[in-house]
Symmetry: C2
Subunit: 189 residues, 2 copies
DNA sequence: GCTAACCTTCACGTAAACGGCAAGGTTTGC
DNA sequence: GCAAACCTTGCCGTTTACGTGAAGGTTAGC
């Protein structure tokens, strides 16, 4: 999986502005867009597009307004890519999820700074509502995927038994029940 | 969700061709496109589009080439809608899944009609390959969704405890660990 | 048998998620 | 200090999954 955590380190890239004599040596490691794209298997265009949609803001810009990304940006992009590729979320949905995350952070702060008990309870109730909505949506997805997966596993086992039987010379040893359903997942709605 | 299983029965629609004196009285119940759309919460345009993509073929056409759909068509459309809405599959992916299903049916037939043992084994091995590919893909999706769901559930419980504590007058009773991660799902790749 | 309601096939329009190119500014290596 | 390589912001093109008419045939109710 070529996991190198952070940039492949093409070269130390010399000029290092010597003005960094204050407490700033925690390897800032800012990457340019092509490096980010390479690292994550995206294109520069896609990354710019995500920014255009407001899904992220590069940590900084260079003197000449080159986009510069830090580790948090990378993490965020990995998150976006994961949801997009693996779960088929639209960028709009991803945007909502990310906003939810940020709202969560803000509310946490609000919660900490307000002394009013009733307001605190309200904040918690709102958070609960959001979380329950998310859970409902995810549970639906999860159930359907799991049902499909179960069906597919059932088939695999059936095929394996059948193949083993047939290889061993035996043939009609397994039950021949349930054969009609073409659609692997049934629905109710 | 206004579940009426089959069409709301607007009217029996009279002319009933009397040539059906053979074994044909299993309520054919053919629906026109707008009825199908209404029933399934789709648009007529979408249904035509699915046909255009080859995802289904209406059971029949009327004298004047009106599309007529039977129960199997409805089932197939429900399947398509489910994958599209709930699982975020693209219509292309859905097409592949449906084709897989049909290939499965065809192979089942081939299997039954060939007497050659080695060929039979090959058919089973091919089927196993396909099934394993499907399983791998689904397992990935499932794991990621499950991880998100777990995280969300964890949060819900945390919030519920917190709210209960706060309502009961107690306040700082829960552990305050693990607070930094913004992204609900971690990745490895 | 006539009209309203519904259907047909084009055909063009649109939002999403980028791809690709142009024109020009920036960085880097030597 | 200069060319190659990389980046910037437009801006137009493309695919997917339909929406929205237009122009005309079909069906249904009276």
């Amino acid at each position: 999986m070529t996991n190198e955590t952070i940039a492949p380190a093409a070269d130390p890239a010399g000029p290092e502005p010597p003005a960094a004599r204050f407490a700033e040596d925690a390897t800032p490691r800012l990457l340019k867009i092509a490096e980010v794209a390479e690292e994550l298997g995206l294109t520069a265009r896609a990354v710019r597009y995500y920014e255009e949609l407001g899904l992220l803001k590069p940590a900084a810009r260079s003197e000449g307004s080159y986009r510069l990304f830090d580790d948090d940006d990378l993490e965020r992009l990995r998150f976006i890519r994961g949801l997009r590729d693996d779960d088929g979320f639209s960028l709009a949905e991803i945007g909502r999820l990310l906003e939810d995350e940020e709202a969560r952070e803000r509310n946490r702060e609000r919660f900490r700074t307000t002394p009013d008990l009733e307001e605190r309870r309200q904040i918690l109730r709102d958070a609960l509502d959001r979380v329950e909505r998310q859970a409902t949506s995810l549970r639906g997805k999860s159930e359907r995927i799991t049902a499909m997966l179960d069906e597919v596993e059932r088939r695999r086992e059936h095929l394996e038994r059948h193949l083993a039987d047939l290889t061993a010379g035996r043939e009609p040893s397994h039950d021949e029940a349930a054969h009609g359903q073409p659609a692997p997942v049934e629905q109710t709605r």
